[in-house]
């Protein structure tokens, strides 16, 4: 298997987000951005299982996945400067993002269905947040993927909040459904992000 961007280390990812944050705070980016922090090692480890031929689907926060999927840093930074941070997609690198809650999920499922139908060896990795994981369409996708044993893995990135809303408090539970699920298509990890939901903390919130 041809692995991707194995040379990227945690500090590379951190430095990239800091560079984007600086560009945003200095007014060079005239569009909303969504930044990661605190999950670098976890993502690097997940991407050890993702090859060049596999597909990656993300939400509005996807800079790290783009870099780890092999999108050149310069191309990615240029796209962000053009205002595409919240829906970065690079078809040639098989990565797609949606800025709409759950938007990427059924599209990822469709790619997985097509892969299985055509007996391809490709795999699909679909990233989503903890609040998104509770939506009806996410639950349906989890169930369908497991029932038909589709070549897809859902990665729930649990930072406990949606924008500023506490996911568990809002649903009135201590544990969300994916935490108690035995669905083998789902993996999860927890992290805490130093950046706010949108922006880099020094400029007007989107």
């Amino acid at each position: 298997m041809l692995l991707l961007s194995m040379e990227l280390i945690k500090q590379d990812l951190v430095d990239f987000e800091d560079k984007v944050a600086d560009a945003f705070n200095s007014g060079k980016i005239k569009a909303p951005i969504h930044l990661y922090s605190g999950n670098e090692d976890l993502l690097i480890n997940i991407f050890k299982s993702i090859s060049k031929d596999d597909w990656v689907f993300c939400s509005w926060r996807s800079h790290y996945q783009c870099l780890l999927k092999g999108v050149p840093e310069s191309d990615l930074f240029e796209a962000i400067l053009e205002g595409r941070s919240i829906a970065l997609s690079f078809l040639e690198y098989k990565i797609f993002s949606s800025a709409i809650v759950s938007g990427q999920i059924p599209i990822a499922l469709g790619v997985a269905m097509s892969i299985k139908r055509e007996f391809s060896k490709e795999k699909v990795f679909c990233f989503l947040g903890d609040m998104t994981a509770e939506t009806g369409i996410a639950q349906s996708a989890f169930t369908y993927a497991e029932n038909f044993d589709l070549p897809i893995t859902f990665i729930v990135e649990d930072n406990g909040i949606s924008v500023c809303t506490d996911t568990r408090q809002t649903w009135g539970v201590k544990k969300l459904r994916f935490e108690e699920s035995d669905n083998k298509k789902i993996i999860t990890y927890k992290y805490s992000n130093k950046y706010p939901h949108a922006g880099a903390g020094k400029r007007v919130q989107f």
């Binding site: 796209a79 595409r84 829906a87 997609s89 690079f90 078809l91 797609f96 949606s98 709409i100 938007g103 999920i105 059924p106 599209i107 990822a108 499922l109 469709g110 790619v111 997985a112 269905m113 097509s114 892969i115 139908r117 055509e118 009806g136 369409i137 349906s140 996708a141 369908y144």
Partner: protein, 189 residues
Amino acid sequence: MQELVSEFNFKMGIYQAELKRAMNYLSANSKVIFLGQAVAFPGTAMTTTLEDIDKNKLIEMPVEEDLQMGVATGMAMHGLVPVSIFPRWNFMLLAVNQIVNHLDKLQELLNVKVPPKVIIRTGIGSLKPLDPGPQHKGDYTTAFKAMCNKIEIVRLDSSDMIFPSYKRALEREDGISTIIVEWSDKYYE
């Protein structure tokens, strides 16, 4: 089940025959696949237009319209030409997110000149022999034309529009997706 089947056991008119011819034409393309509700199982008048198609090309989907529509877009991204079937406009309203926010924006999102395309088939509910009421007979052609900038929307007002519309939707090479709308009442003509 017997009653459901017999409900659609009427003499085929030219409108329905043309729809069946168009579906058979689409199915001859190895990349085309059909998905939706009452696609592999009987249940609607549309089903009767798919009865000659290889069962391997018919994917019955759970009733969750936005999921179905996103699945179709994903299949298109992987190289297939999906025909996503919604028996009524009213049902397809539940797929607005995937149609308006994703499929219609695919060229811009993917930053490509020719995005993957989907063919969407839907219908205006019939008034005869039973009037299904306000939730089953809507025609949102004008509204969707206003919401979608990149998707072509064609309403099949006459039977001679059917085959050319589907042929164009399949053969066009500009990546434009097409919503093709039929009149359920014309099946009886």
